[in-house]
Symmetry: C2
Subunit: 463 residues, 2 copies
């Protein structure tokens, strides 16, 4: 990387472009260096709040001119340090680019700015009969979800961001603006640049507009909870449902440790055993049929106390408990921070992977609740650590490493939905070997100076 201008001088030039929406206020910088996970704070030198693509272009050009790194920032909910400023630089916060630009209701898609959060988007869609289903738990921004290739509880039915982003507007490292696709539901026109930027974690360009698929609101929704004596039985139930082609909208696994946390956090009285939370979407009769089939499959695997929640208030109580697993998990050990990790394996190996991971955590004395999007083979472990005890953090990282190794050995991936960020750079190479060199070639082709979100996905300052 060449010589940089000092950040005060750059901040002054940025102020020339966007006025007081460029700041070097300490509190703001610090806030943009933190994350929900255990990573140390890595603040930027400057934070900017653009309102238009044209402003983003000016910001990128100014940064490029002085070799200043550029880090896009959404809602700050990522879990692998994906939006931290490893080399300082300019953090582009999209809080003010959070508009719905156009709802194409008869086409069932929408064009939004990247700063809008998924909940804001769904609030704006009220009355259209459509919704955006992808739900990673946190109220993440659409830009962040796109860049992380997020998924969450509804992916088993509606896919991940990969499947729901139709087109992107992107500002490249040299300030060019491209649109990756048009608004047709499918296309065979050239390389799939949309999918290249989905999951690139801001390392190839800055996303300034996202066209998303929407889905019709289901006519009926029902939810259910069912507990099992073993993780194996719970997982076999989930797999049985997938293999029977029951279009379940969500099927979430919470292990006994997590159920203990949920009960304490939300003052509930669930059985503290491996538990599946279900949701079914469709017509009244389709939902009833799906739920009956799921209940029958659960019963075959020793499922106990299948509890229905058809009324909206019962469903929200149930899913509120599920949505707060991070805080419920943290509550199991007051004052703790969480080393949060996620892997995804072929579903035939999921029970084995979960059981071995559960045993490994227990044997090493960690309180480490597990929650999984089991229809996809994806699960998370929250390893609770005392942030003041480096030994514990090292132990948690070693436990995480064994979990990732186990997943890769089962032909799985080191991350199903959190991305590589800072935390999984080495694992990416373990998983994909020389393919990572191909990724690096693409990075170099599009960002030769290595200014776009440096330090993420790849090791070293330059790709």
């Amino acid at each position: 990387m060449g010589p940089r201008v000092n950040s005060a001088a750059l901040a002054e030039r940025l102020t020339g472009v966007i006025g007081p929406r460029a700041t070097i206020a300490r509190g703001v910088l610090d806030q943009h260096g933190q994350s929900e996970s255990y990573y140390r704070a890595l603040p930027p030198d400057i934070v900017v709040y653009p309102e238009t693509t044209a402003e983003v272009v000016e910001i990128v050009k100014l940064c490029a001119g002085v070799n200043m790194p550029i880090v896009p920032f959404g809602a700050g909910t990522s879990l692998e340090g994906n939006a931290s400023s490893v080399e300082g630089g300019v953090c582009i916060d999209f809080a003010r680019m959070n508009k719905v630009l156009t709802v194409h209701d008869s086409d069932m898609n929408v064009v939004v700015q990247p700063g809008i959060t998924r909940k804001q988007l769904n609030a704006e869609l009220r009355g259209t009969g459509l919704f955006f289903p992808i739900d990673p738990g946190a109220d993440a921004s659409i830009g962040g979800m796109t860049s992380t290739r997020a998924s969450g509880t509804m992916a088993v039915r509606y896919g991940t961001m990969k499947d729901n982003v139709m087109a992107l507007e992107v500002v490249l490292a040299d300030g060019r603006v491209i649109r990756t696709a048009r608004r047709a539901r499918k296309s065979a026109a050239g390389y799939d640049l949309t999918r290249l930027f989905v999951g690139a974690e801001g390392t190839l360009g800055v996303i300034t507009e996202v066209t998303l698929k929407l889905h019709p609101l289901p006519q009926a929704i029902s939810a259910a909870v069912c507990s099992f004596d073993t993780l194996h039985n719970a997982v076999d139930t989930a797999i049985g449902i997938i293999q029977a082609a029951i279009p379940v909208a969500r099927v979430e696994l919470l292990d006994d440790v997590m159920m203990r946390g949920i009960n304490a956090y939300a003052k509930l009285g669930y059985r503290e055993a491996p538990t599946l939370f279900f949701e079914f979407h469709g017509s009244e009769s389709a939902v009833a049929e799906q739920a009956e089939l799921a209940q029958a499959i659960a019963a075959e695997h020793g499922g106990r106390g299948f509890e229905w929640a058809r009324a909206p208030e019962d469903r929200s109580r149930l899913w509120h408990a599920r949505d707060n697993t991070l805080y419920a998990g943290l509550g199991l050990r007051p004052g703790a921070r969480a080393v949060i990790t996620d892997v995804c394996v072929p579903i035939s190996r999921l029970a084995e992977c979960l059981t071995e991971t559960r045993r490994d955590a227990d044997e090493h004395g960690f309180t480490a609740p597990i929650v999984g999007h089991v229809g996809d083979g994806n699960f998370h472990m929250l390893i609770l650590v005392d942030p003041a005890k480096p030994d514990e953090i090292d132990g948690a990282k070693a436990l995480q490493a064994r979990m990732v190794d186990r997943a890769i050995a089962m032909d799985g991936t080191c991350t199903g939905e959190h991305g590589i960020g800072l935390g999984k750079i080495d694992y990416l190479t373990d998983e994909l070997g020389e393919a990572v060199d191909v990724m690096r070639s693409i990075k170099t082709a599009l960002d030769p100076e290595g200014l776009m979100n440096p330090g993420k996905i790849f090791a070293g300052a330059k790709p």
Copy 2:
């Protein structure tokens, strides 16, 4: 491009690697230069039939050493000259790499060699309860379908190749072999190289292994036919079905001209009016419910004579007619060749795009049947021409150009599923502008000598 060795000398070296499975026999070369469409023959200098990835690596390295172009070849069913040898070179025919490598039935996926065709694959899957649904009409190879980002009649329910390829093994231009992903159902690990190679038409590397998602065979299938007085009514019915979230497995539009061709070709007596062909997949009760809802929506739009086909033999008669639209279309003008083109537009613009295109063809005196995967907004026109009359071919190309311009002006794409190949290079730039430069940068990064399927997607010999 640097100096080439002469092809006889290269053929000798290739024979050293794979014995008599390298050939320069005229008949074989000519056969590999033809296509199903109107493009002139562009044969390779040598055809090779590897049996292993290791052999493909040796072939690629030998070719790279002497600057010889490399053109992968599947079943030869592509429609835009995608597998023609524009600059001669070595055509890698995957006919002998057509094995199912591993069926992972409990994970619902399969690893195959690229030369297997979709019908062969489904024959091999018999007894597993699983199938591979993507159906572009022709019995294309899986490698070719992957490289073209093919889709077809089932895409409305099961997605395109983009959605059904999980991982690829690829031999790069320098002979390196990479695997783009592991076998998890989702991943957020680094750039999505799988989707980069899906639809790259062999211009970035040679695919030697494909991991595909499979789907449970539906418990019940039913099919139906219904005719309409106008294209508009037929399209509105299809859109109504999509917007009502009815998970229709196929919804195909054939216009009055195509219905005339079908009746003549298959000796059937359908009404010669815009017609929708439906197929529904699911449980017995789900299929019945879907079909009733679809029938009600069709009735609202003046659909006539909704004809059911529940028995397998009735369904196959019905779909056999649909599957032979190319030959049925050609039968409308004996001796003709077809200029075949496809576009895809947002569904809200589909009726307008179809109607204007139909009128344009009629006004210019072309016999040009239309068939569409209308649930996706995708349709094809077969413009019948006398291959001996250059004027007609020019007129057909001008008609095609207006159809593509119309689609792009409606925020659609110049190709929904046939790819860019030779025929749509200029349209790609019309559609995506500077994004095509980004594609070029990627091409240059991965294939600096421009040896991989040159002349496709981009204009000029080198990217």
